[in-house]
């Protein structure tokens, strides 16, 4: 384990009183391939953390293991609710290294948006949200109001009765955002969600996604291979290379003291 991971682990371990997502020494393996090696990080509610790195660095594997779509080989993933006035709070363990604890993705109350929005072609925009609220156990009489508010918030209320095939690329991503946040998602996972949009819309929608998630108090873990996206949107950046964390810090720290081959290469390109 390199020194940075060691420090991050200690930080994560020391933050047991901290709120939000805590990932501790997570490793992901596909047979003999080590996709992620003992990576640790934390994301607080309302915070936007970006993971950057070259293709094949293990970014998506890390994200999918947080989502519960793949089972890590080792480590610990927990979610801590905000500390209440009486100093008590709930810590949920989603996965631990002994493998004795595993929470299925449907019980983690998180949302995820990938490059392909994976919308359901047979449902209208409105029906998408109503369906999710049903699955999340929201009472029938409350579903309609929540749906309308969220469609309004993401700016596609006028497209509520349209199916995904009738929406533009940007509108589809807005619907995916609404679906990911509806029903009280506390963590939003973004896996290159803006990759298919043009540069202008990408910046616009990226900022808007970040704003809406903050407004709703959700923590955001955002995977991207584009450092410019990360610099402009994130509060903190984590750099992954060959499955290992090589640097983490605020955008300013990363750009002022680039460490590791990837960030250095990006920095050279920015200044070329």
């Amino acid at each position: 384990m390199n020194q940075l991971n060691q420090q991050a682990n200690e930080a994560a371990a020391g933050r047991t009183t901290g709120d939000g997502l805590n990932v501790e020494a997570i490793s992901v393996e596909y047979g003999h391939i080590h996709a992620v090696r003992e990576v640790s990080l934390g994301v607080r509610p309302g915070e936007h953390v970006a993971i950057i790195g070259p293709s094949g660095s293990g970014k998506s594997s890390l994200l999918r293991s947080v989502a519960g779509l793949i089972r890590p080989a080792a480590g610990r993933i927990t979610w801590s609710d905000e500390t209440r006035a009486d100093e008590t709070r709930l810590v949920e363990t989603w996965f631990d290294t002994a493998g004795t604890r595993w929470v299925e993705p449907e019980h983690r109350r998180i949302g995820m948006i990938a490059q392909q929005p994976a919308l359901w072609p047979h449902l209208t925009a409105r029906a998408h949200l109503i369906r999710v609220l049903g699955w999340r156990g929201v009472r029938k009489r409350d579903r309609s109001g929540q749906t309308d508010r969220l469609l309004e918030l993401v700016g596609i209320a006028h497209r509520a009765t349209h199916r995904p095939a009738e929406l533009s690329g940007g509108e589809q991503q807005r619907l995916a955002l609404a679906r990911a946040l509806v029903g009280g998602s506390r963590l939003l996972l973004l896996d290159e969600p803006l990759g298919q949009l043009d540069l202008v819309r990408r910046r616009e929608l990226g900022r808007e996604m970040s704003r809406i998630a903050r407004e709703m108090g959700a923590a955001v873990l955002h995977v991207t291979h584009d450092p410019t996206d990360a610099m402009s949107l994130a509060d903190r950046i984590v750099v992954l290379e060959e499955g290992r964390m090589t640097q983490q810090g605020t955008p300013n720290e990363i750009s002022s003291k680039p460490a590791g081959a990837f960030v250095e290469a990006v920095d050279r390109m920015r200044h070329a």
């Binding site: 993705p105 699955w135 679906r179």
Partner: protein
């Protein structure tokens, strides 16, 4: 493996595998009889005759089916959508109906006539399965191939895509040809007799030599099952997940020749569907004859339709959860083998096994009633519901199900809210296919006492004894009842049935 999956597999085994195992146990119980059947000098030439018929049929059927599928899916052939909708009709007319309609008016006999009937009846297997593969060729892929190698490369690439599916179609046809003796029997009743492989089984059964019947069934089972499993696996290796953003390849422009090529499809449909129905109507003579026969056989018609509907519903209800669970196991080869085994086994062997299994004093209610027929039909034809449903589930975009999972949907919620609505068209299609196949089934039901109440049995027994116009009227009724749900599906869904 979940308890539910074990129960489902157990159910499939009880319906299809157990009767086959019971019948094939005669190989062990009567080894001497089995050995003498295999060294019988008449057995191998008969198998050779069947192989010759099968080879000739496939030699015509595969190119014809591939060309028609390519024209209907990948080109700008006029009325190709309608053509695709009409292509399955010859398949759903029972071969005996083809025989009665054509060879009552055209003097053809011998092996060429048998091959002709099989080519007409079974080519849709190849067309439908190849078309489904060609449907999945994406625009970006097709354009890249065209840029790299031109039209010739596109043709070869299309062929590469469709060949495994066409092979499955060919093997399904082979399964029906190997187990069939009625077509050869009828077509060579005048002139030199052509005795085929299935006749040997029937003769051993009639002579009460079950060990010999089981032994002679083995080459047929291997001949059908091994290529079928191979083709299914090969096709799945080439299969692609269809995501909602999938854009089909642009149809290739055929130019002025497209009208001439349309003629090929039109001639096939004319020979395979229109002319048989016209010929039967002409042979029946008048509406009075048809109505009289319908009145006389009304009990059998109602019984057969209800039996077919119940069997098709049973097949879909069994195939749906089975394929949903199978997907979690990545659909292992042995599950395909289990589902396809009863189809690959000669119907006579399945019939013998069913009699041994269910003909017991305590089970009279099942054996003497429609229960055993339902079991026979579901066991034998489950593959025709499982194949399209399993294919649809495999092609579902995983990310849509992952999104539902993250949104809080458990396995029931994902199935009911996402999977089922997205594969609903295929499920209805599978029901229609299953229904049509149960209504053309004769070879297994003929072995069971309750099967004598069905319309195909009534037609078969009347071929010898009844007048020609009466037989033609009955064949016309059977054809009408068989293709009615298919017509209804096409009228409502306005798209071709999905076979894979």
């Amino acid at each position: 493996m979940s308890i539910m999956l074990i129960m489902l597999i157990g159910g499939v085994a009880l319906l299809g595998l157990l009767p086959v195992v019971i019948a094939m146990a005669d190989l062990v119980r009567r080894p001497g009889e089995a050995f003498s059947a295999l060294v019988d000098p008449v057995f191998w030439p008969r198998l050779g005759t069947s192989l010759l018929i099968v080879s000739l049929t496939l030699a015509f059927m595969l190119p014809l089916g591939l060309v028609m599928a390519w024209l209907l899916v990948r080109t700008n052939l006029p009325a190709r959508r309608l053509g695709m909708m009409l292509i399955p009709f010859p398949l759903f007319l029972p071969p005996l109906v083809h025989v009665l309609s054509w060879f009552g008016v055209v003097p053809l006999s011998g092996i060429p006539a048998i091959v002709l009937v099989y080519v007409i009846a079974f080519t849709p297997f190849v067309v439908l399965l190849s078309a489904r593969s060609m449907d999945q060729i994406g625009r970006a892929h097709a354009e890249t191939v065209q840029l790299m190698g031109g039209r010739r490369a596109v043709l070869l690439d299309d062929l590469r895509h469709a060949l495994p599916s066409a092979t499955i179609g060919g093997v399904l046809a082979l399964v029906f040809m190997v187990g069939d003796f009625a077509v050869a029997d009828f077509l060579t009743s005048v002139g030199p007799k052509v005795t085929v492989y299935a006749d040997t089984l029937y003769v051993h059964h009639q002579a009460r030599r079950p060990g010999a019947a089981a032994a002679t069934a083995v080459p047929g089972i291997l001949l059908c099952l091994i290529p079928l499993i191979w083709a299914l696996r090969r096709r799945r290796q080439l299969g692609a997940t269809v995501d909602p953003r999938f854009e089909p390849a642009e149809p290739l422009a055929l130019g002025g020749i497209r009208w001439a090529l349309l003629l090929l499809i039109a001639i096939y449909l004319l020979i395979g569907t229109a002319l048989p129905l016209i010929s039967l109507s002409w042979q029946a003579g008048s509406w009075t004859t048809i109505l009289e026969q319908a009145r006389g056989a009304s009990d059998r018609i109602v019984f057969t339709v209800l039996l077919g509907a119940a069997a098709a519903t049973g097949m879909v209800l069994l195939a749906l959860p089975l394929m949903l669970f199978a997907q979690r196991l990545r659909r292992p080869w042995w599950l395909d083998a289990l589902i396809f085994l009863p189809l690959a086994v000669p119907p006579l062997i399945l019939g013998v096994g069913l009699i041994r299994l269910w003909n017991r004093p305590l089970l009279d209610a099942i054996y003497l009633g429609p229960g055993v027929l339902l079991i026979a039909l579901i066991g034998r034809y489950l593959a025709f519901a499982a194949l399209p449903i399993g294919g649809s589930i495999e092609r579902l975009d995983r990310s849509m199900l992952d999104a539902a999972r993250l949104a809080g949907a458990g396995s029931v919620g994902r199935t009911a809210g996402i999977t089922l609505p997205l594969i609903a068209g295929t499920v209805v299609s599978a029901w229609c296919i299953s229904f049509c196949f149960t209504l053309r089934e004769l070879d297994t039901l003929i072995m069971l006492r309750a099967g004598q109440r069905t319309l195909p049995f009534h037609l078969y027994s009347n071929v010898v004894f009844a007048r020609r116009e009466e037989v033609a009227a009955l064949a016309l009724i059977l054809a009408g009842v068989t293709i009615a749900p298919l017509l209804l599906y096409l009228a409502i869904a306005r798209r071709a049935i999905r076979f894979l």
